[in-house]
Symmetry: none
DNA sequence: AAAAAAAATGCACAAACACGCAAAAAAACG
DNA sequence: CGTTTTTTTGCGTGTTTGTGCATTTTTTTT
């Protein structure tokens, strides 16, 4: 394995797990710890990582925007993103809704994944624009400044022409009888069309919001294929969903 | 086997496997490692591969280019933005192209201005989303990561349905006989449709680029209503434009 | 304070590299 | 067609780079 390959792998690992241990790296990459230390030294010199005793930590490239810092349940959302990223594969056509969970997902997509992603979220598009291999299609429309997503009929129409392999849908409300629900009517219509355009629908939901219902219906629960949450998929909370053949991750 | 044949094969291999080793190549292509090294050296000189000890890797597109470009002539662009902002009035429907000059303009729009702005530039949309009274319509499409704008047929079509009061157009080339020109073909088509959708067209151009011609034509000079530059509007450089009844600001 | 873990340092060695040169191959020319 | 010129290739030389190991120093843990 080439030195640069190792460097890339180390950076990718850091991106997803935020820390790496020299010991683990030497084991996984099949080189001596000395070599790993030299690698980390180089990466530190390039200002790409923050080296500490025992390994290295992720270097925060930029101070993240204010609204992101204040995001509720950010740790839970990062957990969800870590599980969801495993569903991504090269060659897929992907639709991503405009949730903060999806933003976390966008941040940790490995650089070797080569796929097409449709989104109508400004921050997700910005994040993905730094990815070397993802083709980004932004769905235009009137910008909702609060949610930083585009809304309106101009968003719904183009979605009808998409045929996606997988849809990552962030949500505020999922319930066994009422299905997927959403507080904003316009967003509910957009989410509905996104789901109808996708072969496989993954709902990402923090555990505290499972079994909550919002004002506007998006789709019945039967339209959902999988739920990714921050907690153990064997939790009793999900038993009803499992009975309906949903995959819990 | 000819040298160019090898080069092509090497590039093909790189595309599929993302890395090549000099040793393997010399074995597969039946030439000495020295020859392979010379090949790789040439390909590196053409910026097609990233050469490393032991072989070569796929060249990753640096996304930094946009940030680099946006800082060129930044003082001139701020001057232009200061002049252009005076043309903005509440109630207008505005189209903004994706230049760094327009980004500077977006930053200084007074908070009391209440207008609708169409744009296809990611950074401009992000900037405008912080404005309290501007309604932002983002024109979607495939994202060009380098310029951070959307391009393609999906951008041009929606513009035909717009009717705008004023269009702020950043440019790399304006010339009295060739009119507005643009290095990127797709962008030239988008700019053309933007101008046709607008009542009044303002071209913003740093003085050093006045009288420069790029590859693709956007519109003849007669379609332009005003030019905003960083220098004195009475400069002799503009006398020809004035004769055609263009406003110089 | 002692023990353990990790890091720095110096060294050895193999692999990969650069450079010059000459042979071979290809192209250009009369 | 043969000859000259240019390009491409392989080889010998010495140099650089990447890696692992032993030893010492530093940091962390107990």
């Amino acid at each position: 394995m080439l030195k640069q390959e190792r460097h890339k792998l180390i950076l990718d690992m850091l991106k997803t797990s935020k820390k790496v241990l020299s010991k683990n790296l030497s084991d996984e990459l099949q080189v001596s710890e000395d070599t790993i230390r030299r690698d980390l030294k180089e990466l530190e010199l390039q200002d790409l990582i923050y080296r500490v005793h025992g390994g290295a930590l992720l270097k925060e490239i930029r101070v993240r925007s204010y609204d992101e810092r204040s995001t509720a349940d950010i740790d839970e959302k990062k957990k969800i993103a870590l599980k969801a990223v495993k569903l991504l594969k090269s060659g897929q056509v992907i639709i991503m809704s405009g949730s903060s969970t999806n933003l976390e997902l966008a941040k940790i997509i490995p650089s070797e994944i080569n796929a097409t992603i449709y989104t109508y979220s400004l921050p997700i598009a910005v994040e993905l624009s730094h990815h070397p291999a993802i083709e980004v299609i932004f769905i235009g429309g009137k910008l909702n400044k609060e949610a930083q997503v585009t809304v309106g009929i101009d968003v719904v129409n183009p979605i009808y022409n998409i045929s996606a392999d997988i849809c990552f849908m962030g949500t505020d409300g999922i319930d066994i009888s009422r299905g997927l629900t959403e507080p904003n009517w316009e967003v509910s219509r957009i989410k509905n069309s996104m789901i109808r355009a996708s072969n496989y629908v993954v709902v990402m939901c923090v555990s505290s919001r499972v079994n909550s219902v919002k004002r506007h219906s998006v789709v019945p629960i039967t339209e959902i294929d999988a739920i990714v949450s921050d907690i153990n998929p064997d939790h009793s909370m999900f038993s009803d969903f499992k009975a309906l053949d949903l995959t819990i991750i």
